[in-house]
Symmetry: C2
Subunit: 320 residues, 2 copies
Amino acid sequence: MATIYDVAALAGVSPATVSRVFNGITVSAERSDRVRAAAEQLSFTPNRTARTLRKQSSEVIALIIPDIENPFFTALARGVEDVAQASGYSVVLCNTDEDAEKEARYLDVVVSENMAGIILAAASDLVDLTDLTRRGRPVVAVDRSLPDVDTVTVDNVAGGRDATRALVEQGFRRIACITGPRGRTTAEGRADGWREVLMTTSAVHADLDRYLRHADFRVEGGHAAMVDLLNLPEPPDAVFVANNLMAVGALRALIEHDLTPPLVGMASFGDLPFATLSPRGVTVIRLPARLLGEAAAQLLIERLHGDDRPRQAIRLGNSA
Amino acid sequence: MATIYDVAALAGVSPATVSRVFNGITVSAERSDRVRAAAEQLSFTPNRTARTLRKQSSEVIALIIPDIENPFFTALARGVEDVAQASGYSVVLCNTDEDAEKEARYLDVVVSENMAGIILAAASDLVDLTDLTRRGRPVVAVDRSLPDVDTVTVDNVAGGRDATRALVEQGFRRIACITGPRGRTTAEGRADGWREVLMTTSAVHADLDRYLRHADFRVEGGHAAMVDLLNLPEPPDAVFVANNLMAVGALRALIEHDLTPPLVGMASFGDLPFATLSPRGVTVIRLPARLLGEAAAQLLIERLHGDDRPRQAIRLGNSA
DNA sequence: CTTGACCCTGAAATCGATTTCATTTAGGCT
DNA sequence: AGCCTAAATGAAATCGATTTCAGGGTCAAG
């Protein structure tokens, strides 16, 4: 309720001086004390809206993710939060539900709220960032890379390779792949890793695509794809699933068909959520979700502090 | 980049008129068209910071939760989001990590960013909401009730009763309880339900507290408490766990001791996350997490629209 | 003693919208 | 035609901070 003018009046100084006290600009000790006492007495908190309007930038960074119910993204969010808080930024989390329209709406909010910057795991490959970049708002793409902006990702192809190789080593031969939507770089990369390994292995050369399914990165999609694969005349004896939630769905399908791993082999790109509950027969490619968030926040904050190196593309490793 | 003045100049009208066009105040059709055309041409988006400063309130509501990695809260968040979006509000999500200090910081942000209202699942029973209520910002407590403000909760005592009764019916007798921190109303309520049932049953009257553990609502806490219970001279033959994450931990402890349910009985207050992965022997009290969020958002928005009924306390049922 | 450099300080402009208030214009009624 | 009411419009004030600019004071060097 109290404004800078109230404080100024009570302390017997000008509003400008009050502002300076709170912004670390030299003010005589005596006045400074008076101002602080007055502020204390009125329990004054500076109005961030006014400050943001004047400075044309707030101390809030937006983290936009496609699925808040996916533990991978919440872990990532934790990483972002830790680093941001430590540097004095608040993080607001926006959930797009993989919906390009919702995403666009949140991007508008970011612009018109003058937020300092954005960390974005994009729902759409075609996001329009021109509004943001034109206004000099730094953007860091995380998990899913985007053209022209800094990115922090994992090595999708290597992960797909590692997972598939593990299944081969376990003796499986007809290894299927359930990946994400067609055209998504993460989905395609992981499937590429799978394809690479199978091409160089004795396995089914002929028609790999027979064993490839594109789903939606969600539990139900993974379930449906697995059921579909099991209904093939010659069903796979193992499956590489390209994200954690689809792996949960696929696993459920296997259990329903009494094919609980390791009866059918399974590898998941990304930890199964609450893994303590899941069968031991599943190979998991562990992803550094939290680190991803930390690295992205780190990078964003460096940009906010004026760093103008050329575009960075950080790629973190995974651990089988 | 474009401001209302730019649009006004291009359309040949005053800024006031531009504002009116965007706020649904009558403006002649001809001018209105010119303004819209100009706005389109300049790709004008009104600056929310300025608008918020002038109106002393934004269209953003804050949702403050204690643990973003708990699927219960993310489901709740989805409910809030759906309702809020439908009414034109954006939701920003703040994670306090059960830390009262972080919570206080976010509450400050809410005030000084002039956010419209708050939905709060409080980390501390002693939150100070005076700043908020003094400024007329509506607050709705969700999941964890608070004095003096609207609340939306589940019936904790009934849930505890239902869960315990189910275990009794399954033939278990030495039923332990792992609940949340001492003094937390949710934790105490659930334990009360458990106690009630055991008092009226043939079961161990003597020293109920021997089988009661207080943990921290997290996976590791549940695990430790379960291990502790299993080390008793006369370990329990079943356990009621008062939240989903502790249930995951307790379950892991049981599995590690080769006591996978139903060898030892187990009931969980709240769905086990990604339940498809978990043993069938666990009784689950299903919680309407999403509904909780929807109801809270509904209530908050009614308050924002000027509803001034006396304090509401909505209690949703659960389903065994 | 004068001059210049530097530090504090306050008055006033500024950020970009909304809103009050006064004025103009148009339309309806007698 | 004349008068009154209502609608449309623009000028200017406002929200609460930051920041520019200019003035006043202190101190050291010449």
